[in-house]
Symmetry: C2
Subunit: 210 residues, 2 copies
DNA sequence: TGTACATCAGTGAACGCGCGTTCACTGATGTAC
DNA sequence: TGTACATCAGTGAACGCGCGTTCACTGATGTAC
């Protein structure tokens, strides 16, 4: 950073846009703090003056949104890859859970922004509804539906339980693991992998019909 | 707020301390935003000038810590009350889970600060280790140990599973539910209670020996 | 092939803001004599 | 009972800071003629 940089030739203004996004993301990860990602800090990291950011982004919020949006896409692709490896619904569910936790542990600050921050800081396009409709979520939901149809997943309780509630519940469990690991790294976890395995094991065990 | 207030007589300076804490907490809940709790805003809410805060708290961080500490105590008491109602380990586990989620839903901003914020903003006295040692956590752990000893809780998998890992896992599950509800209130949950019931039901089901 | 010019990437200086915190102070109040 | 005084709750003004954002600009670059 703080590299001496020359101005891009005429048709190449777009390049700075990507550099800005990359710098904002790196700053986010390095400082592990959303507040540290200021327009000025980003401009400094790219080696440019603050006003030039405004050539590419209408304001700070939109810049952060875009950084965030990229992460949502990455998580989605990551989960889709995990899901693609399996045809068996139960295996797919387990693999997704594992992949989800892995993603969060690998990108804690990204995860924090996506799922642990204030709702109004999340870009609308990547908002809650879209997550439920346009991501790996519906794929997982389809697996859960198949698992129920095959009689492999219980629906005996609670009253009114359905595939959607089960899928959301699965999300809650893996999110719980992930966000707790992200928020409380200093907690005396003991063997982190054992905790993850135990949670996923029990979660899956609780899903299965006897 | 902004009430005209007279100075307290000589021995009663301590009173302002409590008013400051109460105002800071109310501000936190009302604005649903940690950043909105500034020294100036708190002083204004109490009806006092900013410097007088410093008579009672060394700095802003310590003020926030103390607000936070009060919440930890409240959660602890709340969970202890839920635990006290039961002697049966399985019932106790279920009741604690429910109580935990209820607390988070009732005090979302407090919950956010305690368990969803940056680790370095949590006061040391109420830090992770203390939570594991000095709160309802050990009580729950004891119940889990009894459940295992009674043969009611499974320990057949994963390899090396123990009461501590199970208890942490339980925490992760209820935290997942709670923090997701806090972070994503606009998510199309459908029937929130159904999601909660489904998660707790499956979680418990997955714990039990067959 | 040479030149005038529009384009466009990026600059430099400044704005107003709210923040945490410090400092020297004021003036009512309880107390000691 | 009266008064001088130490105590202490709280004030008013100011500090320096980093922030997001705006504005008028500069000067290199590609292009049209």
């Amino acid at each position: 950073m703080n590299v001496v940089r020359s101005r891009r030739p005429k048709g190449h203004g777009e390049e700075l846009r990507h550099e800005i996004l990359a710098a904002a993301e790196q700053l986010l990860v390095e400082t592990a703090s959303e507040e540290a990602v200021s327009i000025r800090a980003v401009a400094d990291a790219v080696g440019v003056t603050p006003p030039s950011i405004y050539r590419h982004f209408p304001d700070k919020q939109n810049l952060l949104f875009e950084v965030c949006a990229i992460q949502f896409t990455r998580l989605d692709e990551w989960l889709a890859a995990a899901l693609a490896d399996h045809d068996d619904p139960v295996e797919a569910i387990q693999a997704t859970g594992r992949a989800y936790v892995e993603f969060g542990r690998a990108h804690p600050e990204h995860y924090r922004i996506m799922f642990m921050g204030r709702a109004d800081l999340t870009p609308e396009q990547y908002d809650d509804e879209v997550f439920a409709e346009g991501s790996a979520f519906p794929t997982l939901l389809a697996f859960v539906e198949r698992g129920i149809a095959d009689g492999r997943l219980r629906t005996d309780s609670p009253a009114g339980v359905n595939a959607f509630a089960i899928t959301v519940s699965l999300w809650a469990v893996v999110h719980g693991l992930t966000s707790l690991l992200v928020a409380k790294p200093a907690f005396p976890w003991g063997d982190v992998d054992l905790v993850i395995d135990t949670t996923l094991d029990r979660c899956l065990h609780g899903l299965l019909a006897r």
